[in-house]
C-alpha cells in the first residue's frame, strides 16, 4: 500500500513536471540562444552615465555596499527596541520599522477596531513617548531608519523629527525613508485613510518640507513591491510604480516643487522574486526609463535627479509554508538578483516569514544570507556584472518595451489616479493574482516542495514557533492611557485645533502643525480624527 503510494508520488512529479518554459513569468519569450546576429540588442552605455542602465554609481558597491535593512517590529516599543539592538549587534546597517495596523490605519490602541490588532504585524507607535522608547540607545544621526508607513506617513515622519528634536539630534543629520506611497495602498496594501486628493496633498507636504528640513532623508519610497506580491508580473510591477512616480512628480510640480531638487530624494522599492535574469533586467530597464522620463518630461538635467535609486525585499509570496527551509535558498537566489540589479538597500525575508513573525534564529539567517552574498560571493566587486551579457541586454530591452506598453495602457484609461479611484487597477491585479494561482494549481508554474516534489509527511515541520507576548497589548494600552494622563491637555487641544484649521487651507504645508502635535504628545488617532473631519475617508471601489 505504502509502496504503491510512493510510486504514485514519484510518477506524479516525474511525469507532470513541465518542460522549461520559453518565456519569463512576465511572458517575455527568450530564445534558447541569444545571438546578436539574429536579435537586435542595444549597447548599454557606461555606468553612472545617462540613462544609467548599468548603474548610478561609477564605483558600484566598491565605494559603498548596499544597506542591510531587515524589516522588523512587533508588540510594544520595548520589545522592538530590543530586537533592533540585536540586529545592529549582528551587523545590520540600517533599521526598518514595521508598524502595527492600528498605527498604520490611524486608530489609537483603545479603539475597538484596534484591540485585536495591537502589536501583531508591527510595533504599536501611538505617540512620541513610544517612539522615544523605540529608539532608546540608537543614534539617529548615525543609523538610517526606514518606516513602512503610508496612510499615516506624514504623522510618523513628524514624530521622527520630534523624536530627533528631543534627543538633540540636528534635523539635517537625519537619514532614512518613509514609504509614504499612498497610491499603491489603494491598489494593493490597503492602509489608506483619506480620499486620494487630500492624501496626495499630505505626500507633497511631507516631501517639500523634508527637502528643506531633513535634506538627507528620503520622504517617499514609491513602491511596486506590494502590487507585485499581490499578484502582478515584474513588467507590471515596474510599470505601475513608474506611473505612480509620475503622478507624484506632477503633484509636487503643481505644488511649486522643483523637480531637480525633490527628484534627488525620490526613491523606489520593489520585490525580487525567483526569475533571476528577468529581475536583473527589470532594474536595469527601470533605471533607464526613469532617467529618460525625468529628462524628457520634466527637463531635469542634473544626473542626481535622474537617478533611479531603489531598495528591495527578497522573498514575500515567492516563499512557501511547505518545506520552509527551502526558502533560505530562494532568498539567496533573489539576493543575487538584487545585487546584480544594483539595489541600494536589501531586506531579505526570513524562511518562516510565509507563516509567522520571524524568530531571532530565522531573522539571523536572513541577515547572514546578505552578508554571505556581500562578503563571500564577490559579485559586488564590479559594477553591473551581467552588463553586456547577450541575454541580459536582450531582456532589458524587451522589459523596457513591455513596461512602456503597460504605462501607455494606464494613460489610455485616463491616468493612474482615475484607474485607482475607479478600481480598475485593483481589478487587473486581482485577475492577475488569480492567473498566478491557477498556474500553480495546474502545475504550469513549478513551486518546489509545494506543487512538485512535495513530501506530505513533512508538512507542518516548521521549526521554532514565534510567540508574541500576550501581555504586550495590555502594556501598550496602559502606556497609552498613562501618556494621556500626564501630558499638557491644553497644549494638545491647541495643537490639534491649529492642525485642523491648517488642513482647511489647501496651500498650507501641514508638517509644522503635525510636528507641534507630536511634541505635545497628541496621538496618531487624534491627529487622524482632526484630518478626517475635513477630508472624510476613502471609499473603496469594489470591482471584481
Amino acid at each position: 500500500m505504502l509502496e504503491q503510494r510512493r510510486q504514485e508520488d514519484r510518477d506524479r512529479s516525474a511525469t507532470r513536471a513541465p518542460e522549461m518554459a520559453a518565456s519569463t513569468p512576465s511572458g517575455i519569450e527568450i530564445p534558447a540562444v541569444v545571438d546578436p546576429a539574429v536579435q537586435a540588442i542595444s549597447t548599454p552605455g557606461r555606468a553612472a552615465e545617462y540613462p544609467f542602465t548599468r548603474g548610478i554609481f561609477a564605483d558600484g558597491f566598491r565605494g559603498r555596499l548596499w544597506t542591510f535593512r531587515q524589516y522588523s517590529g512587533y508588540g510594544s516599543a520595548e520589545e522592538s527596541n530590543a530586537r533592533y539592538h540585536f540586529l545592529l549587534d549582528q551587523g545590520q546597517t540600517g533599521l526598518s520599522v514595521a508598524l502595527d495596523l492600528p498605527t498604520q490605519c490611524g486608530y489609537d490602541p483603545i479603539d475597538p477596531i484596534s484591540r485585536p490588532e495591537i502589536g501583531k504585524v508591527g510595533v504599536s507607535l501611538s505617540n512620541l513617548a513610544e517612539m522615544e522608547v523605540l529608539f532608546d540607545g540608537i543614534d539617529l544621526a548615525k543609523i538610517s531608519t526606514s518606516f513602512t508607513i503610508n496612510g499615516t506617513a506624514a504623522i510618523i515622519y513628524a514624530m521622527y523629527v520630534a523624536c530627533a528634536d528631543r534627543k538633540g539630534t540636528p534635523r539635517d543629520k537625519l537619514t532614512g525613508t518613509v514609504q509614504n506611497d499612498i497610491l499603491k495602498e489603494y491598489v494593493a496594501r490597503g492602509t489608506w485613510i483619506f480620499p486620494v486628493r487630500p492624501s496626495l496633498r499630505l505626500v507633497a507636504d511631507t516631501v517639500l518640507f523634508s527637502n528643506d528640513a531633513t535634506p538627507r532623508f528620503n520622504p517617499i519610497s514609491i513602491a511596486g513591491a506590494h502590487v507585485r506580491d499581490a499578484g502582478c508580473t515584474a513588467v507590471e510591477e515596474m510599470a505601475y510604480t513608474l506611473a505612480n512616480g509620475l503622478a507624484y512628480v506632477d503633484e509636487l510640480s503643481a505644488r511649486g516643487g522643483d523637480a531637480t531638487r525633490f527628484g534627488k530624494r525620490l526613491s523606489f522599492f520593489f520585490y525580487v522574486h525567483m526569475d533571476l535574469l528577468e529581475e536583473v533586467a527589470k532594474f536595469r530597464a527601470g533605471r533607464r526609463i526613469w532617467a529618460r522620463l525625468m529628462k524628457e518630461r520634466y527637463g531635469v538635467t542634473d544626473p542626481r535627479a535622474q537617478h533611479f535609486r531603489f531598495g528591495v525585499v527578497c522573498g514575500g509570496s515567492s516563499l512557501t509554508a511547505a518545506q520552509p527551509y527551502n526558502n533560505i535558498v530562494r532568498v539567496s537566489v533573489e539576493t543575487l538578483a538584487a545585487v546584480m540589479g544594483g539595489a541600494q538597500s536589501i531586506f531579505t525575508c526570513a524562511f518562516d516569514e510565509a507563516f509567522q513573525i520571524p524568530t531571532e534564529f530565522s531573522a539571523e539567517i536572513a541577515l547572514r544570507t546578505q552578508q554571505i552574498v556581500a562578503y563571500e560571493s564577490g559579485i559586488g566587486r564590479t559594477v553591473d556584472p551581467l552588463g553586456g551579457s547577450y541575454v541580459v541586454e536582450y531582456l532589458t530591452d524587451r522589459m523596457e518595451e513591455e513596461v512602456l506598453k503597460v504605462m501607455a495602457e494606464i494613460d489610455a484609461y485616463g491616468g493612474v489616479i482615475k484607474a485607482i479611484e475607479e478600481g480598475w487597477l485593483q481589478m487587473r491585479i486581482a485577475e492577475r493574482a488569480r492567473e498566478r494561482k491557477d498556474k500553480i494549481d495546474s502545475g504550469e508554474s513549478v513551486v518546489v516542495g509545494q506543487n512538485f516534489f512535495r513530501r506530505e509527511e513533512e508538512r507542518g515541520a516548521q521549526g521554532e514557533v514565534f510567540r508574541l507576548d500576550p501581555q504586550a497589548s495590555r502594556r501598550v494600552v496602559e502606556k497609552y492611557e498613562d501618556v494621556r494622563r500626564r501630558r499638557d491637555a491644553a497644549r494638545v487641544e491647541k495643537s490639534l485645533a491649529a492642525l485642523r484649521s491648517a488642513a482647511a487651507r489647501d496651500r498650507e504645508n501641514l508638517m509644522p502643525y503635525l510636528i507641534d502635535c507630536c511634541h505635545a504628545y497628541a496621538t496618531v488617532g487624534e491627529m487622524v480624527r482632526e484630518l478626517k473631519q475635513d477630508w472624510g475617508e476613502f471609499q473603496e471601489p469594489i470591482r471584481l
Partner: protein
C-alpha cells in the same frame, strides 16, 4: 466531476484592519466561476457589519480572510455577532495566515474549514460545496 456552487450565495469578508485582499479576491473570483453568487465586503469591516450583511443577504456560507494574526479574536467576534442576530448555523470558513496551533480553537469556535494560500482552489470549492450541501440537508 468538478464541484459546483450553483445556486449558492457566499459572503467573502475582510474583518479587522488587515489590508491583504488578494486571497479574498482570488477566492471570490474562483467561487463565482464555480457558480456561486459572491458578495465581497471590501476591506476593514467590523464583525457586526459582517454579521448584518450575512443575515440580510441570507447567505449560505461566510468566508473570512485574515492575515494579520488576529484571527482568533476576530472569529470569536463574528461568531458572537451572528449569534446575537440568531443567524442560525451559517457555515463559516477561514482563510489566511493561520498557524496550525490555532486550528483547534478556531474549529471549536465554529469554523468548518481553514484554507491556506497553498491549497488548490478546486479543493476549496469542493469543501464549500460539501459543507453547504450538508447544511441544507441537515
Amino acid at each position: 466531476m468538478a464541484a459546483t456552487l450553483q445556486g449558492t450565495r457566499v459572503l467573502i469578508a475582510k474583518p479587522g484592519l488587515d489590508g491583504h485582499d488578494v486571497g479574498a479576491k482570488i477566492i471570490a473570483l474562483a467561487l463565482r466561476d464555480a457558480g456561486a453568487e459572491v458578495i465581497y465586503t471590501g476591506l476593514r469591516k467590523a464583525p457586526d457589519y459582517i454579521a448584518r450583511v450575512a443575515v440580510d443577504e441570507d447567505v449560505d456560507a461566510i468566508g473570512l480572510s485574515i492575515l494579520s494574526g488576529s484571527h482568533c479574536e476576530l472569529v470569536e467576534q463574528v461568531v458572537s455577532e451572528l449569534k446575537a442576530r440568531n443567524a442560525g448555523e451559517i457555515p463559516l470558513f477561514l482563510g489566511g495566515t493561520i498557524p496550525a496551533e490555532d486550528h483547534e480553537q478556531l474549529k471549536r469556535l465554529g469554523v468548518r474549514a481553514i484554507f491556506t494560500a497553498e491549497m488548490e482552489l478546486s479543493d476549496v470549492i469542493a469543501t464549500l460545496s460539501r459543507e453547504i450541501g450538508d447544511q441544507s440537508h441537515a
